[in-house]
């Protein structure tokens, strides 16, 4: 620590736009968030050469609207994973809130009430899960696994395993048409991602979420209410799962208890593909968004290719692993550098 260096710190004390920009870009910021983008582009190019009609506007809209549900649920999952947690109950909450709202809508015909009930259901489940994880301090994997069983079992029980339908056309239309021929659902996704990204990077709550993931001890000693943050993050995840459940219900013109269960893999997969760190403290909605599109184009492309469903599984799995290992490679190099 020769004096010159000490001075260099002093000089940076003047808040210049330049210095600020340098600080921002110096650490792994929004630039790293786009790291998966090249891979996505390569994928789209490769697929478009192999299939006809991938890049037609109608197909692009299909990809977007088909990814909507996973995209929305993945927002919540990203927040949870940023705290270093994991939420296995997402799929079951999607089913539960979808069924709840469909039930109200079909029985009372009151759309608003149905939506409200759906959102309430999801948020409440998330709140309970969060409370157990954060306040009673139980490992999230186990808690959300238990929640997955209880919620999906309970929903099936209450709905007698029946699909609740039909929901009114107005509700279905939400995921079929919209301004510019692009379904409202897709617009909603875009809106939610902008909001969520801003909340994550520009608000105190977002900062706290990341900090709980980065080091919960530091956060606690610095006065962050980690229990409240931890609880709230699962409630938020429940809320987004509920929105996803509503969109799915509208897309399928009805709600069944198990309709969300197959989605869990894609949701977690998308977050990881995007490069949000599973141990928490690093990640963003930008990354997750790219991950969602990646999986969306992948499955769309594969189905255009007429790939057998089991071959599609193999390819998807390979992609998830490779993307994650590329990220891991990078992290490994970083840690070495720090240690030296």
């Amino acid at each position: 620590m020769e004096p010159s260096a000490a001075i260099s710190a002093a000089t940076t004390a003047q808040p210049g736009r330049l210095a600020r920009l340098r600080d921002r870009t110096r650490h792994v910021g929004w630039l790293a968030d786009l790291a998966m983008l090249p891979a996505l582009i390569v994928l789209i190019l490769v697929l478009s050469t192999m299939t006809d009609g991938l890049l037609t506007s109608s197909n692009l809209i299909n990809v977007l609207s088909q990814s909507a549900v996973v995209a929305i649920a993945a927002i919540g999952a990203t927040f949870v994973i940023l705290t270093g947690g994991i939420d296995l109950s997402t799929g079951s909450v999607i089913g539960a809130s979808g069924v709840a709202s469909a039930w109200i809508i079909t029985s009372s015909g009151n759309l608003a009430a149905g939506i409200a009930v759906g959102l309430f259901t999801g948020t409440m489940i998330g709140l309970v899960v969060g409370a157990v994880v954060a306040r009673l301090n139980v490992v999230p994997f186990a808690v959300t696994l238990a929640a997955l069983y209880v919620v999906s079992g309970g929903t099936t029980l209450l709905s007698h395993g029946k699909t609740i339908a039909p929901v009114p056309m107005g509700f279905i239309r939400f995921s079929i048409d919209g301004p510019g021929g692009i379904p409202y659902a897709v617009w909603l996704v875009v809106l939610l991602y902008v909001i969520a990204q801003v909340v994550l990077t520009r608000t105190a709550w977002g900062r706290r979420v990341v900090h709980v993931g980065a080091s919960i001890e530091v956060a606690r000693i610095s006065g962050v209410n980690v229990v409240r943050t931890g609880t709230s993050v699962y409630a938020v995840a429940g809320f987004f799962s509920a929105i996803a459940g509503l969109v799915l219900t509208s897309g399928l013109a009805g709600a069944g208890a198990s309709m969300g269960n197959p989605l869990l893999l894609n949701i977690v997969g998308a977050v990881v593909l995007g490069g949000t760190r599973l141990s928490g403290g690093r990640g963003s909605l930008l990354r997750t968004g790219i991950g969602v599109l990646f999986l969306g184009f992948l499955s769309n492309g594969m189905s255009l290719l007429g790939l057998q469903s089991y071959d599609q599984l193999i390819v998807t799995g390979a992609f998830i692993f490779l993307a994650a290992s590329a990220d891991g490679l990078f992290r490994w190099r970083r840690r070495r550098a720090v240690r030296g």
Binding site: M1, A5, A6, S8, A9, A10, T12, A13, Q14, P15, A19, R20, R22, D23, R24, T25, R26, H27, G29, R202, T203, A204, W205, R207, V210, H211, A214, S215, E217, V218, A219, R220, I221, S222, G223, V224, N225, G281, R282, R336, A337, V338, R339, G340
Partner: protein, 512 residues
């Protein structure tokens, strides 16, 4: 204090070097960690390896231990060149006692000690009886008060360190590398370990002793090797260098002698603690701190100093009363303490002090994030004011961040990490700041800077509760010294009465 040096057991020239480090260099990602380092350790001698943090001590340790491979140069054991890999050092009878205890908390003591030869001789299986029989004598040798079948998780830090040493001895090695063996131990345990080291030397074992505690070095070692910026700047008999010289060798410049002068405290009470307890063994602790006063809290490790600090700051238990300038504090809530303008610098910097893999900026602004929010209600962050705030704090603590405040906290040196851990509390001048081991594992230069910072804070009216295992530090910086013994406050000494002896007496349960 360097009068009583051990001059016996000087190494005789003909003895072969048990450890010979020859012109070793190693660099990480272009940055050179050690550069052309050479020294030897012979049987029956203790060689002390000293230097600031980042001087390359641990790199040398890892190269000798075989966990790192040198870029150039060679290491040889008893004349035989070492090959890369952990095995090599072990086979050549060179054992390492690690600082961060390298034990398995869920395994038994015996399993830990014998981890690399668990199998019963002549059998394919691991048998508890054999492990017990094999481990017991080693444990007796280090004077352990616990059995071989104890689970390490249940042991105290001192006991764990003993297991570490037992582990090293079990291989009965020709050479042992001690890396800060006493860093987290109390005086009694230190004595025990230093006794063991002396015994080892007497038995003709070659000892490389890495430590920040210059007293220990003076007492134990015959030769001292000083590293600075990865180079050996001195390698001479311990007798020939006194403490001040040693420090200047380590830092490379003469240090301002001693501690900065204290200003007299004010009359107004800043903090008063009544019958404090943490729900564990700490109870009935009562004391006051005046504004601008530095109150040192001494005591053996495990006497409850840290627990008192954490209890005051709402991190452990909520027994008793805490008043900050007259107003009673809601217990068990960190937030309440922060709102009362208290600050807490934890002893565990890397886990609790700052974010190692988030931008330094975030670690600095976290305490008072509201102050950089456009609207507190929605908590809307304002990048500009956060930038201003954090750079102000950085310069307050003379933070040296080569990568700027956008770089990750982990990229900072230990001293600078500590500066961040302190700096984040200086948004407003805190009424009371609690520092737990603020200079542990920090190089001498940074220490001096931190001392100055504390004294300046006190002068400006901040009260300071200072906890440190370095007796001199406490005596040198405190207006008054409280001494903990076995979970209770054994007594409070004025600066005039507080001496090493009086403090030790109280700390070990003697009468004032």
């Amino acid at each position: 204090m360097f009068e009583h040096l051990h001059h016996d057991g000087e190494p005789t020239a003909r003895q072969p070097a048990v450890i010979a480090v020859g012109n070793v260099s190693k660099s990480f990602g272009g940055i050179s960690a050690v550069d052309g380092v050479s020294f030897t350790v012979s049987g029956g001698e203790v060689v002390a390896l000293v230097g600031e943090n980042g001087a390359g001590k641990s790199t040398i340790k890892n190269i000798i231990g075989g966990t790192l491979r040198p870029d150039s140069g060679h290491v040889s054991f008893g004349g035989a060149p070492a090959v890369e890999g952990v095995g090599s050092a072990k086979h050549s009878g060179v054992a390492t006692v690690h600082q961060e205890t390298s034990l398995f908390p869920d395994l038994t003591v015996a399993e830990n000690i014998l981890i690399d030869r668990l199998r019963s001789p002549g059998r394919a299986t691991v048998r508890a009886g054999h492990l017990r029989r094999a481990a017991t004598p080693v444990l007796q040798r280090v004077g352990a008060g616990f059995g071989p079948e104890a689970i390490v998780r249940d042991l105290s830090a001192g006991q764990r360190q003993l297991v570490e040493i037992a582990k090293a001895l079990a291989a009965d090695p020709h050479a042992i590398v001690f890396d800060e063996p006493t860093a987290s131990l109390n005086l009694v345990e230190r004595e025990l370990i230093m006794g063991i080291v002396e015994q080892l030397r007497a038995d003709g074992v070659a000892v490389l002793y890495i430590s920040h505690y210059l007293e220990e070095i003076a007492r134990l070692s015959q030769r001292v090797v000083v590293l600075r910026d990865g180079r050996v700047v001195a390698d001479r008999p311990t007798g020939e260098v006194d403490r001040a010289r040693l420090e200047s060798l380590m830092v490379g410049r003469e240090l301002a002698q001693g501690y900065p002068p204290l200003a007299p405290p004010r009359d107004a009470k800043a903090l008063s603690v009544l019958d404090l307890g943490d729900g564990g063994r700490v109870s009935g602790v009562s004391f006051d701190i005046a504004e601008g006063e530095i109150f040192g809290l001494a005591g053996l490790m495990g006497s409850g100093r840290t627990e008192v600090a954490r209890a005051i700051f709402g991190l452990a238990g909520d027994i008793g009363r805490v008043e900050v300038s007259g107003r009673q504090l809601r217990r068990g809530s960190v937030r309440a303490c922060i709102d009362a303008e208290m600050a807490f610098v934890t002893e565990d910097r890397r886990h609790e002090g700052l974010f190692l893999d988030r931008p330094i900026r975030e670690s600095l602004s976290i305490v008072d994030l509201d102050s950089v929010c456009r609207s507190r209600r929605i908590g809307w962050l304002d990048g500009g004011s956060e930038h201003r705030l954090t750079h102000e704090l950085a310069s307050k603590v003379h933070l040296v961040a080569r990568g700027g405040l956008g770089a990750d906290g982990g990229s900072l040196s230990g001293g600078n990490q500590q500066k961040v851990a302190i700096g984040k509390w200086l948004v407003k001048r805190p009424r009371l700041i609690i520092l737990d081991e603020p200079t542990r594992g920090i190089d001498v230069g940074a220490k001096a800077e931190i001392y100055r910072l504390l004294v300046d804070l006190a002068r400006s009216g901040t009260s300071i509760l200072l906890i440190s295992s370095e007796m001199e530090e406490v005596l040198g910086l405190s207006h008054r010294v409280g001494v903990m013994h076995d979970g209770r406050l054994a007594g409070i000494l004025d600066r005039s009465q507080a001496t090493q002896e009086s403090v030790i007496r109280l700390a070990t349960g003697g009468a004032p």
